[in-house]
Every structure is written in structure tokens, then in C-alpha cells.
């Protein structure tokens, strides 16, 4: 009997569309109307809000800070996460499962608690600063508040567990026999990494970088708590404009710019990856 399995997809499609697309549409639609303050919008369709965003250095600077901190956080996640993922993926003992479980559990911890953990560690009387001051590496405490470094650390802390899990699944697909073969033929560890693991994992790494980057672009909590009212990213700006100024149109405009920026950056990255593949710099 022929079963119409696609019918099962209709309920999730309706729910998904209502919750995501429809609600976003209503909000984004507001970006094309004049902002009259106190949540009120004009009657005529205008593009003033977009013109203001794209011609105002203040907003463009916030866009740049958002892209920069997200990119740095994604890169830091890769740098810190790759060795951990590699180690777990190549581990033969049961410890690999325990470590993986630990990472999965760490991703369950709410971001607010994670950020407050960072605040405690990096406070003036905290472990990090007291150690650094005691051994003379710092002459004054380092603060995670009110600077981009702190925001990048917070974002990376938010995405690291997720990044390790993604990288783990990528590395597992690379046969270990390739590494052994290269080593038998005289390649040292660095060469094995550079010529085998890196090219083979690059498509997956790119996907992981994009996913982490996208998460960071929309992250509010880390940027709001660690930015200390000095570092403004687009999500922080949206909250300030919607909650304090109650300017829904401008808030929607910033949200739309954020969404479009993320889509453009992702498409650009995929295009670049394809060019690399075409130039045989990446193994397909």
C-alpha cells in the first residue's frame, strides 16, 4: 500500500511557519513604516529606517563590532575546540564517552550561569587575577567587563561545547588509517595535521565556523552582561531600542539588517569554499 508520508510533515510545517516565519514577518514588516515612538508606527511604507541605519556611522560601527566579536569567538572556538575534539575522537578508552558526556552536559548549563561563572573567575578578587598578580604577570587585575575581549570570551564560552561536538563528528569521519599511512611514509605530526587532517576536515570546519558565528551574531546575554553597557552589539542595541526607547520600527530594522548580514556572510563563505574546492585546495 502506498503511504503518503509527506502528510506527516504538514503539522510541523504549520507550527514552524506560525512560530518562526509569521511572527518574524509581522515584526520585520514594521521596519518599513515610520517610527512615531511609544510603539506607534506610521501608515505609509518608507525605507527611512534602513537609510538611517546604512548612513549612520554609529549603527555601522555596531554592525562591525558584532561581526568582529562573532568572528573572533568562532575562531577562538575552533582553536580551542579542535584539539579537544581530535583527542576525544581518537581516544580508544571509555574515557572518550565520559568526556563527550561531560561536554554535552556543559551545553545544558544556561548561559547566564556560565557568564556569572566567568565574572567570578575574572573578578579582581577572583582566581585568575589573584594568580596573575601573585606571579607578577599582571600589575593590575584584568576585567572581562566593558571590553570586546570580555565579550569574545563570553561568546566563546557559550559556543565551545557545541563547537567541540561538531568538530568531534567531523574528525570521526576521517579514517585514522590515513594518518598512520602518512606517518609510515615519514610525515611528522605537524605534516599529518597540515596535509591530511586539515584539508579533509575543512568543509566540516567551515560549517562549524559558520554555525558558531551565526549563534554569536544573535547572542544577547553574553554581550549584554559582559559588555557592561560599553560594548554594543546588534542584539544589545535591539533590546535597548525596543525596551527603552520603545521604537519598534527601528528595532525591527536592526533585526532585519542582522538577519540579512548573517545570510550574506554565510553565502559568501559557501562561495569561497566552493572556489577553494574548484582550485583543489580542499578535498571534496
Amino acid at each position: 500500500m502506498w503511504v503518503r508520508w509527506w502528510i506527516l510533515l504538514i503539522p510541523p510545517l504549520i507550527v514552524g511557519f506560525t512560530l518562526v516565519a509569521a511572527s518574524q514577518f509581522v515584526f520585520l514588516r514594521a521596519s518599513f513604516f515610520e517610527d512615531l515612538g511609544l510603539g506607534r508606527v506610521g501608515d505609509e511604507l518608507v525605507i527611512e529606517n534602513y537609510v538611517q541605519f546604512l548612513t549612520d556611522g554609529f549603527y555601522l560601527k555596531i554592525l562591525w563590532v558584532t561581526v568582529k566579536t562573532s568572528a573572533l569567538a568562532a575562531l577562538s572556538t575552533l582553536i580551542l575546540g579542535f584539539p579537544v575534539a581530535y583527542l576525544i575522537a581518537r581516544m580508544r578508552s571509555s574515557w572518550s564517552m565520559i568526556l563527550l558526556a561531560g561536554i554535552v552536559v556543559s551545553t545544558f548549563i544556561t548561559i547566564v550561569i556560565k557568564v556569572y561563572g566567568l565574572i567570578v573567575i575574572f573578578s579582581a578578587n577572583g582566581l585568575f587575577n589573584q594568580t596573575m598578580l601573585a606571579i607578577g604577570l599582571f600589575d593590575k587585575p584584568f576585567s572581562v567587563f566593558g571590553n570586546e575581549t570580555g565579550v569574545v570570551i563570553g561568546l566563546m564560552h557559550f559556543t565551545l561545547g557545541f563547537g567541540v561536538l561538531l568538530l568531534y563528528s567531523i574528525i570521526q569521519t576521517i579514517p585514522k588509517s590515513l594518518e598512520s599511512a602518512a606517518q609510515i611514509h615519514g610525515a611528522n605530526r605537524w605534516r599529518v595535521y597540515y596535509r591530511i587532517i586539515f584539508p579533509l576536515s575543512l568543509p566540516g570546519v567551515t560549517a562549524m565556523l559558520l554555525m558558531v558565528f551565526n549563534m554569536c551574531m544573535g547572542a544577547f546575554t553574553s554581550a549584554a552582561l559582559l559588555g557592561g553597557g560599553l560594548v554594543f552589539t546588534l542584539p544589545v542595541m535591539i533590546q535597548r531600542i525596543v525596551m527603552m526607547d520603545i521604537k519598534y520600527s527601528m528595532g525591527a530594522t536592526i533585526a532585519a539588517v542582522l538577519l540579512v548580514s548573517v545570510i550574506i556572510i554565510n553565502l559568501l563563505s559557501i562561495y569561497l569554499l566552493r572556489r577553494l574546492r574548484a582550485a583543489h585546495l580542499v578535498v571534496v
Binding site: F58, K140, P141, S143, G229, V231, R240, M243, D245
Partner: protein, 354 residues
């Protein structure tokens, strides 16, 4: 005979049951009052002292917690159909509430405790609920250890040894607009010209701009800051609850004004179906008993003037809060009818963002 005694007993029981039910019936039977207010200690105090009395009258209270800005955003989002009956309003928001026309006119005969308030703190739309005194809260020991002079003005916070070790309220926070107003007036600006204030804030080299006053307590404890611009209540709690040796300075604004006062209000929502209960709630909030408990516990200044003397008996309150009516009258009070808040926040964002 036995049957008639049984019937008589049953009659007595029924009569007793009905009369006890009538006695237990309160004036707010079946009423669920929605209160828009802050969470944490602020809400807990209300639960402990007001909600219990309301429940004794047969009603039930549900809280919609959030900052006044967040609660106002909820009203706007709900197109005026507020998700509460009674709400706390900051002085800076009064203009917006009137503009949206979401307030219910008050029947002051239902709020008899207004007789203990100064005339400027109640009208046909709003009743004052508290005042705060915005101060410089500093760590006495750290200042003494490092030889930092005790500040008397906001400008004194521009000091090399204080760089990266002070907090200031974010414009988004409850104390943000008042904090900015304080530095603005102290630097010669006013409601229409906040640039002098913004320049001073930039000069201060602030570690972070606090979003919630409780951050002051945490940051003093962690050693990240040794001074904060905050309302006196948070300084009092930092000493009481966190054991930090802090005290307050009421900054000199100009030749006439010393210190900055901020006002809180209560309003009943136009769409409320429980306006009478809401006004009862306000009356309880401004009662001498509640205002005194609130003042001692949180360090806020009561609007009910009958409790000032009793407040002064608490040594910490007496040390940190100005209670002399003449001095209170000499504190800066911002005329928010002249303030265009989106302009202030826009200028702030542009000046402060790194």
C-alpha cells in the same frame, strides 16, 4: 423528642456555618489583583506585608515582575491592555503614561493614607510610592588605604586611582536617567542639554554601567569596584547584607542643591476591572507600617512623612540617608516633562559605546 432535638441541632449548625461564612467573607472575595512591580526583595516585602492582608480579605495577588521600563513596554505591546491592574511608574515615565492615556482616575477617598504625603506626591492619576536619593557610594577602607580623597562632587570621581574601578547606572537601568541628570546639572547642563554630563561620564573611566542596582553589591564584594553612583538604598544593603564598609556622599550639584532625588509612583490601569482593590493596595503600600519596614530594609525614602522620626533611629539609615526635610527640599529633582527620553538615550548610546 429525639428527632426534634436532632432537627434543632442541625438548625444551629446550619446557622453557625452560614454566619461564620458571612464573617469570613472579605471585601475582595474572588478578586485576583495583578501588580506590576520589581522582583526580588522588593516583591518579597510586598508579599510579606501587603499580600497577606489582601488575602485575608478574600483576594489573591499575582505579580508581573520587571523594571518599570519593561512593564511599560508590555503595555505598549498589548496596545494599552495592560497585563496588570496596578503598576509602579518612574517619574520619567509619567509623561508617557499620560500620552498613551492608559491610567484610571483615582478616588483619593479610597486612599486615605495620602494625608501623610506631601501635596506634590499625589494627584488624581498617581500616588507617590517611594523616593530614592542618588549618591556616590564608596568603600571607606579602600579610599583611606590608597589615599583617595573622599568625593564631594561627581567630578571627584575623575581620579587616576579610580580609573576602571567605578560603576555608573546604565541609561537603561532604573537609576540611569536620574544618574545622568545628576552629572548633567552638576556640570552646568540641564534637561535640554546633557552634553556636559555625558562628557563627565566619559572622563570617569567607568568599569561598567550597571543594569540592576544589585550589581553594586556584587561588584563591591568581588573587589572590582570601590565606588558606585547608585541610590542610597543599594549602598545601605551593600553594608548590611554584603558586609562591605561603604558609605554615601550626597554630591554637591551647585551652590544651592546637594544630592539628587528620584521619585516612584503608583498608577491604576484604565483597563483594570479591580480598580477599587488596586487603590486599596496603594493605600497599604503608603501606610506608615509598610513604608517604615520598606525604608529600613531597602534604604528607600518613604513618601509617608509620619515615619521619618522612626527611620532616623536606625543608625545606618541615619548615616546614609538625608532625612532633614530642609535638606531633602534642596535635592535636585528633574523636571521630566522637559525631557525627551529617546533623545537622551540616543545621545547616551553614541557617547558611551566603545
Amino acid at each position: 423528642m429525639f428527632k426534634s432535638v436532632k432537627n434543632a441541632m442541625a438548625g444551629i449548625f446550619i446557622t453557625l456555618f452560614l454566619s461564620s461564612s458571612a464573617l469570613a467573607a472579605g471585601q475582595f472575595d474572588g478578586v485576583t489583583l495583578l501588580v506590576g512591580t520589581w522582583g526580588g526583595l522588593w516583591k518579597d516585602n510586598q508579599v510579606e506585608n501587603i499580600v497577606s492582608k489582601f488575602e485575608a480579605e478574600g483576594g489573591k495577588v499575582e505579580f508581573v515582575t520587571g523594571s518599570p521600563a519593561a512593564n511599560f513596554a508590555k503595555i505598549v505591546a498589548a496596545r494599552g491592555q495592560a497585563p496588570f491592574d496596578v503598576v509602579e511608574i518612574l517619574a520619567a515615565q509619567v509623561k508617557d503614561y499620560h500620552e498613551l492615556d492608559v491610567l484610571h482616575p483615582l478616588d483619593l477617598s479610597l486612599i486615605p493614607n495620602t494625608e501623610f504625603l506631601s501635596e506634590s506626591r499625589y494627584n488624581e492619576w498617581l500616588v507617590g510610592s517611594w523616593e530614592t536619593q542618588e549618591v556616590i557610594c564608596y568603600h571607606k577602607d579602600k579610599f583611606a588605604e590608597e589615599g583617595i580623597p573622599v568625593p564631594t562632587t561627581y567630578r571627584d570621581l575623575v581620579h587616576p586611582k579610580l580609573a576602571g574601578r567605578i560603576q555608573f547606572p546604565d541609561i537603561n537601568s532604573g537609576g540611569g536617567l536620574t544618574g545622568l541628570a545628576g552629572v548633567t546639572f552638576a556640570e552646568g547642563g540641564d534637561e535640554t542639554n546633557i552634553e556636559p554630563g555625558l562628557n563627565l561620564v566619559k572622563e570617569m573611566n567607568v568599569l561598567k554601567f550597571w543594569a540592576r542596582g544589585g550589581e553594586t553589591m556584587a561588584q563591591f564584594e568581588s573587589g572590582d569596584i570601590i565606588a558606585s553612583v547608585v541610590h542610597a538604598g543599594w549602598c545601605l544593603r551593600t553594608k548590611k547584607l554584603a558586609g562591605q564598609n561603604v558609605t554615601t556622599v550626597h554630591p554637591r550639584i551647585n551652590d544651592e542643591l546637594v544630592g539628587v532625588a528620584s521619585e516612584g509612583w503608583f498608577g491604576v490601569m484604565k483597563n483594570s476591572k479591580n480598580a477599587e482593590a488596586a487603590q486599596w493596595y496603594i493605600n497599604q503600600f503608603i501606610s506608615a507600617d509598610y513604608q517604615l519596614k520598606m525604608a529600613i530594609k531597602t534604604g528607600l525614602v518613604p513618601v509617608n512623612q509620619s515615619v521619618f522620626e522612626a527611620m532616623a533611629e536606625d543608625p545606618l539609615v541615619a548615616e546614609m540617608i538625608v532625612l532633614d526635610p530642609e535638606k531633602v527640599a534642596n535635592q535636585l529633582r528633574v523636571d521630566y516633562s522637559k525631557v525627551i527620553i529617546p533623545d537622551w538615550t540616543d545621545q547616551w548610546n553614541r557617547a558611551i559605546a566603545q
